[in-house]
């Protein structure tokens, strides 16, 4: 005991704690931390309290042996043992402490993407857990510290202190890794910065062979993002009934990730490639398509401030909260030089592109929640009201970058001068000035007039107003619209994306001239209740009308009606069966397939309709899935069957059938799934569970290829009707996404003796996705591909995408004496992966396909990895 005190005191001083604490609690989710980060753990111990999770043979009650069950029949788990506390000093403080440190070794496919996705595994020393807790049973004061470190990108530390019933403070720091690719071979130099430059020897105008030669020698990189966050929070009793709370967290995300890089006209196949029909010729001309790498350098600061009343003489329960979230992007642009010329042999000057990355933005929210008992029918009135505002006002960027389109040059032969578009003088204003406000009011009454009957009514109104208005007007040229894809598109199309009244060249162009400020109002009215027929049966029912008035959208209003029925019964012996059924029907006002004309040039004065009209915006029968009619049925059955006093069997079966009222657009979405589980906990020393689940889904959608022969050449191009000349039935096609997911696992925990504890787990995850398609005729295929494809090469599906992972985990805890123990950890993970998007990517040179530049080879088709660790556990 005497030996322990100095060590604990030293650690306490090092951590800035006055005296250490107790709470090696079972759960971290219930505290006053109100801004995220409520769960601390890592891949070594996802729960964050694994070293303390020793079931207490005393069980949950001195009154009876065995565990009770929840109302639906699930066994409550054994509570965890409270660690032995030792006196701290001469006062009333006691403390517990534990340190677990050791070595981790990883072998096999150490760089596999899935293995590293959220884990910062390294060969080397690791701190499994450092936990110190102290409490004063007389005053109710406590201090608790917990930390774990796998590597510098994967660690957390948290300090809590307070006094029960009085105040609670908390501070934390954590790093969470997120690996996105371990097989990236970016073509560019400067990855991670805002300026991607071509490697030596490459310049705009290179041939695919030259680019491929350069790519073959690029080094492998790992693309990842680390989330580093820290925060403090406080909650305390201000008066007998008022509680105040405040918190601030700061999260910094740094790293890099895959990004895009358009440069117009990637595909233009005029003949089959050397492999015959079905293989592209890959001419490698025009600007191309680029898989770039962007930097991630964000900071999000969340601030939370509130007051809560736990019920004064008036009986009101109140909660008033102010929230602010402030996002800052420290790298606001990404420049990338391109190796291919936009138009071979032309006078193109575009040598690269620029991305505008996410703007800084702020979010504010004020919220009041209140409830009060009613004097009749044992009722309760609940009211909540909130107002929020999202705003960003970053400086806008020029449409073109003078680095890649210098003043004095022109975009091909279009006559469009770079100087007219490569400064912010080309914009109608200099800042974003974007704002979306929303208001919420929710009124609810709950009544329980008798012990058997309860019912409620709820009215919720939420309105969102997008106040952002931006007109794409260039005061230098008097033109509306913009020059897409870094100026590459106008070089090929001749500037058809620009509109200018009175200009013979631009007065008939169909161009977007402003943003579309999507807004909506939403009112939900619900009435529901439940009735307990007898001791074993309860019926419930509810009706919800969701009335939405979005604008500008395809329908002026949507009525979404939901009827839910439920039956909970225990009339099947000691089993509990819960059945629920929901019927949903959505309808609305007349469907307008093109409600956005106000944002396009035909709405402008001076627009001159071309002789052939303008191309149909879309097919009239295309219903967007959130706006189309819908009839849905959802059925779910959950059976919970106690097996004796120590085991439980549960089975869940569910099915959803959604039918959309559309041939063009989403047609149907069906989901069917089942889960079974068996849990057994005969004593505190042994527990075992086996579970398996399967879900299959089928999403079907239809569409129609436009008759490209009529585009820009016939008045029929404006005909929006399905079955008309521009959208003929022969061009109809459907696509079906079939998904099947399986998960299964078995977990076994056993205490062989007070000195030996073993935990074994096996987890299996499988996912298979198949995209199949059908079409009325080959006319459904775009003319760009028609010359290289036949019905035989098209087939009826893409190859299946498969993901399978199996993990075996073992933990063996050996107590050497009362203070010192060992933990041996082993994890064997293996799996396979197939994704046709990465098909053919075996070496870096494969990443150059004609005028397309890709960055990553994709996850390994097969991988296996073994992680072993040995830790010493010392109770301080």
């Amino acid at each position: 005991m005497l030996k322990r005190k100095p060590l604990t005191a030293l650690l306490g001083l090092a951590l800035g704690v006055v005296g250490p604490l107790p709470l090696l609690a079972q759960s971290d989710a219930s505290d006053s931390q109100r801004v995220g980060n409520i769960q601390f753990g890592n891949s070594l111990d996802p729960t964050g309290w694994g070293v303390f999770a020793t079931p207490d043979p005393a069980g949950m009650s001195w009154l009876h042996a065995g565990q009770l069950r929840t109302p639906t029949g699930m066994l409550y788990p054994y509570p965890h043992q409270i660690p032995d506390a030792a006196p701290l000093g001469a006062g009333d403080w006691t403390y517990t402490g534990l340190a677990e440190f050791g070595y981790l070794h990883l072998s096999g496919d150490r760089n596999d993407e899935f293995l590293r996705m959220y884990s910062g595994w390294n060969n080397g020393a690791a701190l499994g857990m450092l936990a110190l807790s102290a409490q004063n049973r007389t005053t109710g004061q406590y201090v608790d510290f917990r930390g774990s470190r796998i590597s510098s990108q994967d660690q957390y530390y948290r300090l809590r202190a307070g006094r029960y019933g009085d105040y609670h403070i908390e501070a934390f720091y954590r790093d969470i890794p997120h690996t996105l690719s371990t097989t990236a071979y970016p073509l560019w130099n400067g990855v991670g910065s805002t300026d991607l430059t071509l490697p030596n020897g490459l310049a705009t105008g290179s041939t695919p062979a030259q680019v491929q030669a350069a790519e073959a020698n690029r080094p492998r990189r790992t693309l990842s993002v680390t989330r580093q966050s820290e925060g403090v929070s406080w909650e305390g009793a201000l008066t007998r009934n008022w509680i105040g709370y405040a918190g601030v967290t700061n999260e910094k995300r740094t790293g890099d990730r895959d990004w895009g890089g358009p440069m117009y006209l990637t595909y233009f196949f005029v003949a089959p490639g050397p492999g015959g029909p079905g293989t592209p010729s890959i001419p490698g001309t025009f600007g191309g398509q680029y898989d770039t790498v962007r930097p991630v350098d964000f900071t999000t600061t969340d601030v939370n401030l509130g007051l809560r009343n736990k019920g004064g003489a008036s009986g009101w329960l109140l909660n008033f909260t102010l929230t602010g979230s402030f996002f800052r992007d420290h790298k606001s642009t990404l420049d990338y030089a391109v190796p291919f010329a936009v138009a071979p042999g032309s006078t193109s000057v575009v040598t690269g592109g620029t991305w505008s990355l996410e703007p800084d933005n702020n979010y504010y929210n004020v919220r009041l929640e209140a409830s009060h008992p009613l004097k009749f029918w044992r009722g309760q009135l609940s009211v909540s009201a909130a107002y929020s505002s999202m705003r960003q006002n970053d400086a806008l960027q020029a449409p073109l970058n003078p680095l890649y389109c210098p003043s004095g040059q022109f975009l091909g032969t279009t006559g469009i001068a770079c100087a007219d578009w490569n400064t912010t003088a080309a914009l109608s204003r200099q800042d974003g000035d974007a704002r979306i406000d929303s208001g919420l009011l929710n009124l609810r009454v709950d009544f329980r007039p008798t012990a058997k009957l309860s019912w409620h009514a709820n009215l919720r109104q939420r309105d969102e107003n997008n106040m952002t208005r931006y007109t794409m007007y260039n005061p230098l040229t008097g033109q509306y619209g913009y020059v897409p894809e870094n100026g590459a598109e106008p070089i090929v199309t001749g500037g058809t994306e620009l509109f200018q009244p009175g200009s013979p060249l631009y007065q008939s162009n169909f161009a977007q001239i402003s943003n579309i400020p999507f807004s909506y109002d939403d009112r939900k009215t619900e009435l529901g209740g439940s009735y307990r027929i007898n001791r074993n049966n309860t019926l419930s029912a509810s009706y919800l009308l969701d009335h939405q008035t979005p604008h500008p959208r395809e329908r002026t209003y949507i009525n979404d009606q939901h009827v839910k029925l439920g039956w909970d019964t225990r009339s099947l012996g000691n089993a509990t069966l819960r059945l629920s059924y929901e019927y949903q029907k959505r309808s609305g006002g007349p469907y307008n397939p093109d409600p956005y004309l106000a944002a396009y040039s035909p709405s402008m004065p001076g627009y001159l309709l071309p002789a052939v009209g303008y191309t149909a915006f879309t097919v009239a029968q295309m219903y967007k899935y959130d706006m189309s009619n819908l009839e849905a049925s959802k059925l779910k059955a959950i059976l919970t069957k106690p097996l004796g006093t120590t085991a439980t069997f549960t089975a869940t079966l569910y099915g959803n059938r959604l039918r959309y009222g559309a041939d063009i657009g989403r047609q149907s979405y069906d989901t069917t799934g089942a889960d079974v589980a068996w849990d057994w906990e005969p004593t505190a020393a042994t527990s075992m569970s086996v579970h398996a689940g399967i879900e299959s889904s089928r999403l079907k959608q239809g569409n129609v290829n436009d008759n490209e022969a009529l585009t820009f050449s016939s008045p029929d191009q404006a005909d929006m009707q399905f079955g008309g000349p521009f959208f003929p039935y022969a061009n109809f096609w459907t696509a079906t996404d079939n998904e099947r997911d399986v998960d299964a696992g078995a977990h076994f925990n056993h205490v062989f003796s007070p000195r030996v504890r073993l935990d074994l787990s096996y987890d299996y995850t499988y996912s298979r996705g198949l995209n199949s398609y059908d079409y009325a005729s080959l006319a459904a295929i775009s003319t760009v591909y028609r010359s290289i494809l036949t019905a035989a090469t098209i087939g009826n599906s893409f190859p299946a995408n498969v993901y399978r992972m199996q993990t075996l985990t073992a933990n063996l805890n050996l107590a050497l004496n009362r203070r010192v123990g060992m933990r041996l950890y082993g994890k064997y993970e293996f799996g396979n992966h197939a994704d046709w998007n990465y098909a053919g990517f075996n070496t870096p040179a494969d990443l150059i396909v004609g005028n397309r530049v890709f960055t990553e080879l994709g996850p390994q088709p097969h991988w296996h990895a073994l992680l072993v660790g040995a830790f010493v556990t010392v109770k301080l």
Partner: protein, 236 residues
């Protein structure tokens, strides 16, 4: 898929079939990380014994607890009509030291397990003290029957019965309390009840799972409550 399902099924079956081995190992090892400082009565079954043999052994006991199990002085408990299992558990914990008493510790030390069962059976068979006339509107009655929910005081009758003559057993699918180990309280002297509650509260008497229950209960009681309860129980 099908092959994977077969592998999974076989693996699950193999693990399930091996469970009895693990289960036996678990019970053999007692699976208790710390040595028990108390006797777990939660699965205690009612005991049996030979009352006649107990009578033969009771001469020494009668010196304090009376020839008919009714104590000769208020600092000794009445044993007549008491739960046999309760009496057996007390003797056993007095013998193994989990209950501490300078006199009874020595007396129990010499008893065999059979002696303790027989003595318990004998005193259990004796007629209990006749019911008294407890004050039906007293604070003690209030606590005994209803507890004091505002202060976390549970009603005594939940385990000791509405008249203090033993618990009222009810049927349930849930795990059952060890009814036979709960003592009958009615007619015990106020002095004895006061001392017992004090010992429970201080932890001096904490050698069984039942005593741990009473530790929590007694700590919710103030001195006035204990006095009121003791008086009420003595007159039951």
């Amino acid at each position: 898929m099908s092959s994977m399902h077969r592998v999974l099924s076989l693996a699950a079956a193999a693990v399930i079939l091996s469970m009895p081995v693990f289960s036996t190992a678990a019970s053999d090892a007692a699976a208790t990380p710390r040595p028990a400082a108390w006797t777990d009565l939660r699965q205690q079954q009612p005991i049996t014994g030979d009352a006649q043999a107990g009578l033969a052994k009771s001469a020494v006991c009668a010196a304090c607890h009376g020839p008919q199990g009714l104590a000769i002085a208020p600092n000794f408990p009445n044993l007549a009509g008491q739960s046999a299992t309760y009496l057996y558990v007390q003797l056993k914990t007095l013998k193994n030291g989990q209950r501490s008493d300078p006199i009874m510790g020595g007396q129990a030390a010499a008893l065999s397990d059979a002696d303790m069962r027989n003595l318990a059976a004998y005193y259990s068979s004796l007629p209990p003290k006749p019911s008294g006339h407890a004050d039906a509107v007293s604070r003690g009655e209030q606590i005994f029957l209803n507890g004091d929910p505002t202060r976390g005081v549970p009603p005594c009758q939940g385990c000791h019965g509405p008249t203090g003559q033993g618990p009222r057993v009810y049927s349930s699918d849930a795990p059952k309390p060890p009814w036979s180990t709960f003592p009958r309280l009615h007619g015990q002297s106020a002095l004895y009840v006061t001392k017992a509650l004090g010992d429970f509260s201080s932890g001096a008497r904490s050698g069984t799972s039942n005593a741990l229950i009473m530790h929590g209960v007694a700590q919710t009681l103030g001195d006035a409550d204990i006095q009121a309860l003791s008086t009420y129980i003595a007159t039951q």
